[in-house]
Symmetry: D2
Subunit: 373 residues, 4 copies
Amino acid sequence: MQSVGIGLIGTGYMGKCHALAWNAVGPVFGDCPEIRLVHLAEVNAGLAREKAAAFGFSRATGDWRDLLSDPEVDVISVTAPNAFHPEMAIAALKAGKHVWCEKPMAPGFDDAVAMREAAREAGRAAILGYNYIQNPVVRQIGKLLADGAIGEVNHVRVEMDEDFMADPDALFYWKSEASSGYGALDDFAVHPMSLIWTLFGRIARVSADMAKPYPDRPLREGGRRAVETHDIASVLFRLEQGASGVLMVNRAAWGRKGRIALQIFGSNGSILFDQERMNEVQVYRAGVDAVDAGYTTILAGPSHPPYERFLPAPGHGLGFNDLKVIECRQVLAAMAGDGAHVIDFEKGVEIERAVHAMAAAHDGGGWVDIDYD
Amino acid sequence: MQSVGIGLIGTGYMGKCHALAWNAVGPVFGDCPEIRLVHLAEVNAGLAREKAAAFGFSRATGDWRDLLSDPEVDVISVTAPNAFHPEMAIAALKAGKHVWCEKPMAPGFDDAVAMREAAREAGRAAILGYNYIQNPVVRQIGKLLADGAIGEVNHVRVEMDEDFMADPDALFYWKSEASSGYGALDDFAVHPMSLIWTLFGRIARVSADMAKPYPDRPLREGGRRAVETHDIASVLFRLEQGASGVLMVNRAAWGRKGRIALQIFGSNGSILFDQERMNEVQVYRAGVDAVDAGYTTILAGPSHPPYERFLPAPGHGLGFNDLKVIECRQVLAAMAGDGAHVIDFEKGVEIERAVHAMAAAHDGGGWVDIDYD
Amino acid sequence: MQSVGIGLIGTGYMGKCHALAWNAVGPVFGDCPEIRLVHLAEVNAGLAREKAAAFGFSRATGDWRDLLSDPEVDVISVTAPNAFHPEMAIAALKAGKHVWCEKPMAPGFDDAVAMREAAREAGRAAILGYNYIQNPVVRQIGKLLADGAIGEVNHVRVEMDEDFMADPDALFYWKSEASSGYGALDDFAVHPMSLIWTLFGRIARVSADMAKPYPDRPLREGGRRAVETHDIASVLFRLEQGASGVLMVNRAAWGRKGRIALQIFGSNGSILFDQERMNEVQVYRAGVDAVDAGYTTILAGPSHPPYERFLPAPGHGLGFNDLKVIECRQVLAAMAGDGAHVIDFEKGVEIERAVHAMAAAHDGGGWVDIDYD
Amino acid sequence: MQSVGIGLIGTGYMGKCHALAWNAVGPVFGDCPEIRLVHLAEVNAGLAREKAAAFGFSRATGDWRDLLSDPEVDVISVTAPNAFHPEMAIAALKAGKHVWCEKPMAPGFDDAVAMREAAREAGRAAILGYNYIQNPVVRQIGKLLADGAIGEVNHVRVEMDEDFMADPDALFYWKSEASSGYGALDDFAVHPMSLIWTLFGRIARVSADMAKPYPDRPLREGGRRAVETHDIASVLFRLEQGASGVLMVNRAAWGRKGRIALQIFGSNGSILFDQERMNEVQVYRAGVDAVDAGYTTILAGPSHPPYERFLPAPGHGLGFNDLKVIECRQVLAAMAGDGAHVIDFEKGVEIERAVHAMAAAHDGGGWVDIDYD
């Protein structure tokens, strides 16, 4: 791969984030093929042209299918709304393009499976945008676990909380409609699940409780409408490796802005992390004399790859957007056939399967074993 | 009540803690009846005499029943091991004494009920030693909730973690025997439950998962023995008031020393607390402009009663033993027939009932409604 | 010493704190002589009687000199206002009593010297109430330094901040009058200096800047009066052992309630402490691989003596009043001729000398060498 | 300005940081002129070509003077070592280019003045790379101060600490040579000074103490050499606006990685900040009831401009490199004649003047008034 041609569908939050990553990945890493920003698609040609100029893309189109037939495009960033992911990703794969698709994977489980099948058939890189796993600090946690630094993991607690649904007086909108999914589980819990999958492997069984903090919400036109989704979900689980765990997500948690908190307990220590302080990890090692024992707060630095590609000095801090640059480098690695540290469509389907199992457990009121076959 | 005569059974950790409280409560509060340290019981007369001297008690005995017949004893602190609570508390109540009994209430549920019945019949104060609810910061949380400072509570997470069972190489001892109970649930979870009961009221239904971090432990005499109790328990619950919640306890959590963490989410804000930083509470209030919004960390001070009885300046810090002094003042209030902020035998039985329901839910694999009648 | 008779002068904040300590020291430590609460003095007999009852003292008087002639009194707690310390302490020492005197030592330097001379002549224990040095966590810092855990100390920063003078609209009162002293320096800086003396030894030279946040304050009777004291002081210093340091005190620091912050840098690590989180200390050890290096937050526990006398479990927390109990035990040790961990009148005079040198440095605008002879 | 042509001298740490910023500023802000990456200079043509490819520049050269004569270059990023700043910046300004020059400004004060004179004559934007002032959180602090949120500032403490010189066994190198300057003061203290200048205005007078943690260091060739610079500096100061303050810098502070801590006390509140947690600011507002009062920890979010250009959700975190992108946008604003939030050569000379005054105060042992004329 001497050069890679980029196509981008969508220029919202994540579209911009992809564009920034494609601009930065070469200068940051210094070991990439040449990145050519080839073709950008938006819902209409005007917006597409404006954004292509802003993001440095050569060509613009109001029809995303134009990217499929563009021979200079090697990989397509799919950042359009969730509902379009299956159609776009499958079409791109069939056209021989690599795909870098935002999460959640797809509204329906069948769609997710179809995407995975398309990836298998195409033999192309098919990567999901689970960027939190790219944090050098999270990678360091993975390394500590692999090295046995805290022994065998026997208990895990994972929380994700934000407050964008916390205001009870906010108007009813699509996130409260059943058509959008279960609520916090699929909108939200897939992020911490990407961490679980990366750090501990698959969840074997679940018991779940979903809750609605507010039964209804005001309508713009007056009156109120019953909320159909669950902003809160709490899940007991067992990992395939045997440890017990709890997954808690709440998108109506006043005060939480970007919390993804991990508590990992092992036979020889424990590890704490919170995405709101994404440049820190706390490690407790058993075996130290009680007089000296405590959590050590480690600040991200050049010894936590690939922090050193961004900054030569420790403690200076990466940001959320930097995680997308690291992910972008992994997409390039996957395209080149190198082992990549990503959630691909294979793992993505597993996460989707777990989401649906959790919802089923809530409905059934008991434990559900997840069948990955 | 011009003066109160104290009897004390037991001089271990909690016995000493009671003794310190009985010594301090008068000077600290300045509004108590005279406290007379009358009679102390231990397993033998020699130890009793030694401890009576150290703690300032007038009389000592190797037979705790001597306290029952001592007319100068008005209230008896029961701090002997758990298994003796029912016999001692019931006998004391029948002898017309008030009782201040350490938790957990009793090994078996029937015993707990019998204790409650004895209290009802005796018409005496019968108080359990749930001291964490006495923290001025916890009382302030209660006041904030009652004042509606964070609106209606809709989600709660409660964690209690220590690491005294975390070492996999520690020898098998009685806490791993089934005869000691379920494990973390009854040994441990009753503490955070006392907070739940105090702040939010009763739990209506539960789903639970108990786990063993280590399947067996070494025996002193060689070989290994299977662990029969669960050091970890995770519980999904619904409060009677409707909110969803998660209770998590782990007595094998390396690095945690005295963590009791609360996360309370309401329609208008949220509150955080951790007993390891017991002089702090964090409050987030919705309605503040986003530019200024965040958690406010409030340090305990004289405006958080009864902190002002201990210290006139804020931020100087109370300690764990001070909580017992506050509880002691509440015992005196209960004896005087004043409304007391305590977990009495009535509420204590409710907590025990919830513990057993959680264990049943674990066994059954589904939700269990708790019947308080 | 089979038993010790206690006299107490004063029952305000610190008087109560002493009374609590004398009540608790026996039960807490279990290795003390019998403590007899003999005689309590207040400004009038009525108040004295009331407080004697509350604090458990046998006799009460409106004339503190009665304690001098009471043969059952062995040691006198002097907690009357600062201005009375010299007269009371000297008289008590001349009467053959041991003295436990609150800080600051005396308003004038000559008075402090006279107190020290009286102590030398009497050959009695003469101890000042610098309780922060008794914190098990601070003792642990001392042990770490003595063990060379962070190598040779080469830089120190010490801050003490509260906000009781922060309100510019608060009425003028005696703390703003020149007759009360320099302001923050003598009212306040003596506390962090007690830590410096305990942990690092004497200060050799100083350069200082004192500042007034508010030039004047309102009078109750209307109008305003110029403030004569300095609520803020900042001091550059060199220790006798060679390290450079900065001492900063501010009693008009909005938001600070009981902050006494230490930053100690050595050739092989560093240590952080803040009295507002008095049960924690943070230690950084050089020599750890960068990938694992960070500050370890150690919670006070039984391995940090004498925490274990209060509580058998770590992380449960001591409070401010507990520090006075530890100090009380040290007073008993000093009385028995055992080596005690205290600021006695000898060291107290050194601290006073440094205070006056700092004020002189402020006036002179340059460095002042402190002459301890 | 429809488009801007960029020249870059140097591709080390800061050169890469500039390159990343020039790549990102357009996509991030969406309101910039077209950015053309025109010409990159390094010490030799080969390295220049390699870096031009990595960073996306069209032309490369081994002679930085080629950029001066390149008509397509509008602005030159000067990131070569400190000693080259004067020559390069002055030449660029004389060639009619705008200049974005890394700090510190110049080794000698006369050089800094000459740079400022060149900027005045050229009438071009001449901006220094003080990026910490660009943090949205720091900007928010500035806004709070301007709005009087904490009343009138009366005391300030500023600390900057890292540990890259903390190892006593590290070899002697140029940072310990007198030819490199004073040590921490010019290498390091200019950063916190940029914050002081931005938030509070000019320092009027100073008293200072510089210190050497280690008297000598090992030489690679064996033996030891005396250290000539001071890794630690502590400065008492008064602002022109009247407040007292302390500036502390230490580049041998084990454990500190990127600490720049601000404590700002005013008549109506206080503000805390630490660059190691660069997405947080703590604000204490007087006037709140004591029962509710405390520091509020605000996480950076879209209401703190220009955070919203990077991320639409609060609490997700910017990184150090993002600050350079914001600074880059300010350079463009300055080039366009818009008011820019920067440290330009005018203010830069003031900071240099203060640095030299501090060193003089250290030598003289007393206070030095800074003459800005």
